[in-house]
Subunit: 207 residues, 2 copies
Amino acid sequence: MDTVTRPYHHGDLAAALVDAAEEELTEKGIEGFSLRGVAKRAGVSHAAPAHHFVDMQGLLTAVATRGFERFVRRQADFRRRADSDARSQLVASGLGYVVFAMESPALFRLMFGSNRTNFKNADLARSAGKAYDDLVHHVAKLRMEGHSQHELHGSTRDVDLMRHVAAIWAVAHGLADLLVAGRLDSIGTLSAKLKREAIAEVLRRVI
Amino acid sequence: MDTVTRPYHHGDLAAALVDAAEEELTEKGIEGFSLRGVAKRAGVSHAAPAHHFVDMQGLLTAVATRGFERFVRRQADFRRRADSDARSQLVASGLGYVVFAMESPALFRLMFGSNRTNFKNADLARSAGKAYDDLVHHVAKLRMEGHSQHELHGSTRDVDLMRHVAAIWAVAHGLADLLVAGRLDSIGTLSAKLKREAIAEVLRRVI
DNA sequence: TGTACATCAGTGAACGCGCGTTCACTGATGTAC
DNA sequence: TGTACATCAGTGAACGCGCGTTCACTGATGTAC
């Protein structure tokens, strides 16, 4: 591919548009995001995206899909560096959750707090579902440990598991959202290193 | 005041605009919110708001300020109906927090997840600060109960209190945000009554 | 009590802007024969 | 290997729209004397 004179055809504009859209999102925020800005960023006329994505929601859905994939990986990164007992693994997941949000606040908000994506889209549903399944898996593991003989069974147990999942998800998500929003000064103003320690400490308190 | 022929002067347009802005917010969401829409809703020309609010941020700051006042009152409502021990009071506050968010999702997002308000505004800072102070107060009370002789003191104790506050705030906020966003199906799909019970149960698990 | 005048609140037309979308087009690529 | 043609990807001008803001204005109110 000639890198000096730009070829008329891009090669992989669809992927380039997703990259550009994420940049645009990071710089302009969800409000202020525009298709024309994305096209400009990708070095392409503003009418070009229409050939690859139906509309803005389609593009942002693709961005969110890739966001969830990275979100899942980021949590796995943190798990790998943690102790292998279920509790440490879950705390590490939570830390990954919050760190991801702080690293990519606009993307995080797109993924969790926006009407601009289509969660009925199969790809997005799958990648977001993976994140949820991971969470449930690790909570279930935590509950197994030390409870080798199951004391509860059937639907009672399921409901209790779901409440347990909700509690842990809520702490991680609440920390993430409050930090991204700039509330929680008591943690938000710490240096990067101390911030992570404080977050882990709060998570450990609940998990 | 003549109610048949509209008087040229409104009487209290500033307050009417805040009302209208909250309606607009509820119906259109933060995205889709416009000053012109608010003016129309208040039955006034679209240039009129400029006489009362510098710009959109000024108006939304007033909306958020009133939002926090109602937020604080809603939590107090729930506390009044709860047992008087510190733990029950804190769970009730949390339930009020989450219920408020579900009752006014767009307002909740304006208050907690938006760049469109000015938190340096004295009124907004005061009303948001009141909500935070209430939280700290009730967490501190919880820590007093059963620990009449203080085992920790000085800055160590302060840091620990702040972590405790962060944990409890995060669960309530996380539940609220996830429910508003339509995640957390396991709770979100329940009837109103069961939903509150489930939320209280999750809060009690952590608090 | 009446008059003159300053101040204030709301009007409505006009502005420039960036947006998403449409459309006829053109350049590049791939395939059939 | 070469030619004809269909298909695909990207262009750029044009559109209509709703937005926030500005501005000269007018109607209502309050105050000084």
